[in-house]
């Protein structure tokens, strides 16, 4: 009974703590409801796809795929090329995805092979692999681009003639997917009309009288994310998805049932890497600038933290966890610095606090998972021994 209660608390401790923190921090920050909703909607559109890409390796029992930064790097290389070629708008984005896909597939296959050699410690290996490929990525982008790989646009290159600048403007595709179907929620005008927002007409989806402003909805991005969710639900039911779930339960059993374990694990990582590549492109079209040497690093850390805050564990994650995580994590992201400033008079503390929380949450989630797994193993051993044993 007490153990069951403990399990329930352990399973939901992280989201509960975050709801509590937010409940305190939101009033302290003094932000209006419409501002918060707008920010959250933007961030859901920006981050969900990246986080969703983590689900499939978890299903296959490979833990959190810290190697998703590989996919993010592939996406960034695609973006650099379309910037160089000056291809704008939706065609640019599609082309970036097309360039990124083969790179992501190759990196994913590599990552899968490496992880198959390190069974049982996939997470730390994929984590270090991210650093390793980061080194290779830096070598390619900083030394080979503009020298061996043709990049000619002077806006991209460093003044020395080769190597890409630290910050690349993505103005040509900025917000292109978010604003593809311009839609707003407003407090002032009636639903079903058109409203002039930012030089274009936007369709008013809903009228909510209590709002004190206009909220723009990244509808096209949300549709893409929705389609992706449908894909995941469908994928779980396919033969391949079932195989992955079987492997996630027990590799040995899956193997004796005739499932090609190593191959399926590689496929899971490849899918994740390719999706992370698309996710990073969606993320960056919203941000509008590419930090050539840092964007991908943060992508991995923040996505994993968000997923865990949403109540997922290393071995179990659902689509609901993704959205709960995005909302809770980014709510804290928005309010923590201001709350810290209003509370202690130092915005820097709020900033450090949220960094601490992101890392702390990952640490706690990993500890809880390992702890529970060890306890279950212990219990299983005890049940095998039966009641005749002395202990």
């Amino acid at each position: 009974m007490i153990r069951k209660l403990f399990d329930i608390i352990a399973n939901n401790a992280v989201p509960a703590v975050f709801i509590l923190i937010s409940a305190f921090a939101i009033p302290l920050s003094g932000y209006s409801a419409s501002y918060l909703i707008q920010e959250l909607l933007t961030r859901i559109g920006r981050n969900s796809f990246l986080i969703l890409s983590l689900l499939i390796p978890i299903m296959a029992g490979m833990g959190l795929n810290f190697g998703m930064v590989l996919g993010a790097m592939a996406g960034q290389i695609g973006l650099l090329f379309i910037c160089d070629w000056g291809i704008v708008g939706i065609p640019g984005m599609v082309l970036a995805c097309l360039i990124g896909t083969p790179i992501a597939v190759v990196l994913g296959i590599f990552c899968g092979h490496v992880l198959n050699r390190a069974k049982g410690r996939e997470m730390v290996t994929s984590y270090i692999l991210g650093f390793f490929i980061n080194g290779v990525y830096q070598m390619v982008v900083l030394y080979l681009m503009g020298w061996i790989i043709p990049i000619t646009n002077p806006a991209l290159l460093l003044s020395r003639g080769y190597g890409v600048r630290n910050a690349v403007s993505l103005l040509s595709i900025r917000g292109i997917l978010d604003n593809l179907i311009p839609t707003v929620i407003t407090g002032t005008q009636g639903a079903g009309q058109f409203l002039n927002v930012q030089g274009g007409n936007a369709f008013i989806l809903l009228q909510m009288p209590f709002l004190d402003g206009t909220i723009r909805i990244p509808l096209a991005t949300l549709i893409v994310i929705g389609l992706f969710c449908v894909f995941i639900v469908w994928f779980r039911r396919t033969k391949l998805g079932q195989d992955m779930r079987a492997i996630g339960q027990s590799q040995a059993v899956a193997d004796s049932a005739g499932i090609p374990v190593n191959r399926t694990r590689i496929i899971a990582i490849v899918i994740s890497t390719v999706l992370a590549c698309y996710g990073q492109i969606i993320y960056l079209q919203n941000m509008g600038t590419l930090n050539t040497y840092n964007s991908h690093d943060q992508a991995g850390m923040f996505s994993i933290a968000a997923l865990l805050i949403g109540g997922a564990s290393v071995s179990r994650a659902s689509i609901a966890n993704v959205f709960a995580g995005v909302i809770l994590f980014h709510l804290m992201f928005i309010v923590a610095p201001v709350a810290g400033k209003n509370l202690i008079g130092d915005a820097q503390i709020g900033e450090y606090f949220r960094v601490f929380v992101s890392y702390g949450v990952i640490a706690i989630a990993l500890v809880l998972h390992a702890w529970r797994r060890n306890r279950e193993r212990e219990a299983a051993r005890r049940s095998l021994r039966g009641n005749r044993g002395g202990e």
Binding site: V114, R117, A118, G120, R121, M123, V124, T125, Y127, I128, L129, F131, F132, N134, G135, V136, Q138, M139, L142, Y143, R160, D346, Q348, I349, Y352, F353, V355, F356, Y359, G360, I362, A363, L366, V367, H369, A370, W371, R373, N374
Partner: protein, 374 residues
């Protein structure tokens, strides 16, 4: 014979050693002095040696690579900053003790002449209990998560560093050389140890040849300090406790069957690793000249982990020789690549090479087929 040597050393190590040798050979041709490079390598060897040494107990006790080194580093940083904060008080206290207990040699001239080494010693003495306490909790945590130590260690390191970022801002440090000038509170990001214990080990007994043809600097004191620490660890690993620890790392079930308290041994190993990490960062700082706070210790575990692996350690086997060889190779490459490759290619590729070599090495160790069961 050669084949056996290759088998024992492993290909990545040989390639990197040859690469380093090549760099040393190429150096004179691109106008880089071999003697200064060698001096730099030795200095960096001494700076990082103890932190690499901190890997041994945890690896031997089967806790994996200590990615949680930042925890020990934080204890060291606390010791270092507190020794600066209380420097005057500590010295005054020592003089008072000398008077009160009639210790004839403990006079004010002695204390004043030796105030730098005394300050350094006080940093270490403050750091050790902090490290031991942190390490004890850290060890208890790692005992509960057997099998996942490395990933959790990484995030314990990260979260403790980011937690300390808040603490550095809020802790009531007062010393004017350490806090931000305009606010009068909150520690600076880098604090100079000049005037306290800058180069106190490095310059002790240092060999400094500076003539027309040769510029050689050997930080003898720092190397001796490393040798003493290495010897202590070596002796410890051969005591009863040390042997039991190795047994736990090699085969926990067998160790338990022979009456070894597995969890206790692992805790001792983690405490030792954390304490060595704390001492290591103080040695590093006295040579480097600055205490780096905030995000400074964030990635410090990776070079140390890479060094010991480069020296031939695996995820569950490591010795003193691995530390010495690995630190020398790793720091050698770090010193040589910027100077040699920069002069040759006119660009700074050292950072990229460091990333690829260090992480490639860790990756190699993680994916090596080790004995089954883990």
């Amino acid at each position: 014979m050669i084949k056996r040597f290759i088998d024992r050393a492993g290909w990545p190590r040989i390639i990197i050693a040859l690469f380093l040798l090549g760099l040393f050979i190429a150096a004179p041709f691109v106008g880089v002095r071999v003697d200064t490079s060698l001096s730099n390598t030795l200095v960096r060897f001494g700076m990082n040696g103890v932190m690499v040494l901190a890997m041994i107990p945890m690896v031997e006790a089967g806790c994996g690579l200590n990615f949680g080194l930042p925890l020990g580093i934080i204890a060291g940083l606390l010791g270092a900053t507190l020794s600066l904060e209380w420097n005057d008080e500590i010295l005054a206290y020592l003089i008072e003790m000398g008077l009160r207990y009639k210790i004839s040699w403990l006079t004010d001239t002695f204390v004043m002449n030796w105030r730098e080494p005394l300050g350094f010693a006080s940093a270490i003495i403050i750091a050790i209990p902090i490290a031991a306490i942190l390490g004890w909790f850290y060890g208890k945590l790692l005992n509960r998560v057997k099998g996942d130590e490395m990933m959790i260690a990484t995030y314990v390191g990260f979260s403790s560093v980011s937690f300390m970022c808040i603490a550095w801002l809020l802790l009531p440090y007062k010393h004017p050389t350490m806090v931000w000038g305009y606010a009068g509170k909150g520690l600076r990001t880098t604090i100079s140890v000049e005037g306290y214990w800058l180069h106190v080990l490095s310059d002790a007994l240092a060999i400094d040849i500076n003539t027309e043809n040769i510029h050689l600097y050997i930080p003898t004191g720092m190397l001796i300090f490393f040798a003493v620490m290495a010897f202590l660890v070596w002796v410890f690993m051969r005591t009863k406790t040390g042997t039991a620890m190795t047994a736990v790392g090699s085969n926990p079930d067998f160790a338990r069957a022979s009456g070894v308290n597995v969890d206790k041994m692992r805790t001792i190993a983690v405490v030792m690793s954390t304490v060595l990490g704390a001492i290591g960062i103080i040695v590093y700082e006295q040579s480097f000249g600055f205490i780096q706070l905030y995000m400074g210790p964030f990635y410090m575990a990776l070079p140390a982990v890479a060094s010991i692996l480069l020296g031939g350690a695996s995820v569950n086997k490591a010795g003193i020789l691995n530390v010495i060889v690995g630190t020398f190779l790793f720091q050698g490459i770090l010193t040589m690549t910027p100077s040699v490759i920069n002069s040759y290619l006119q660009t700074d590729m050292s950072e990229v090479i460091r990333l690829i070599v260090s992480n490639g090495m860790i990756l190699y160790a993680l994916t090596r087929k080790v004995r089954a069961g883990r």
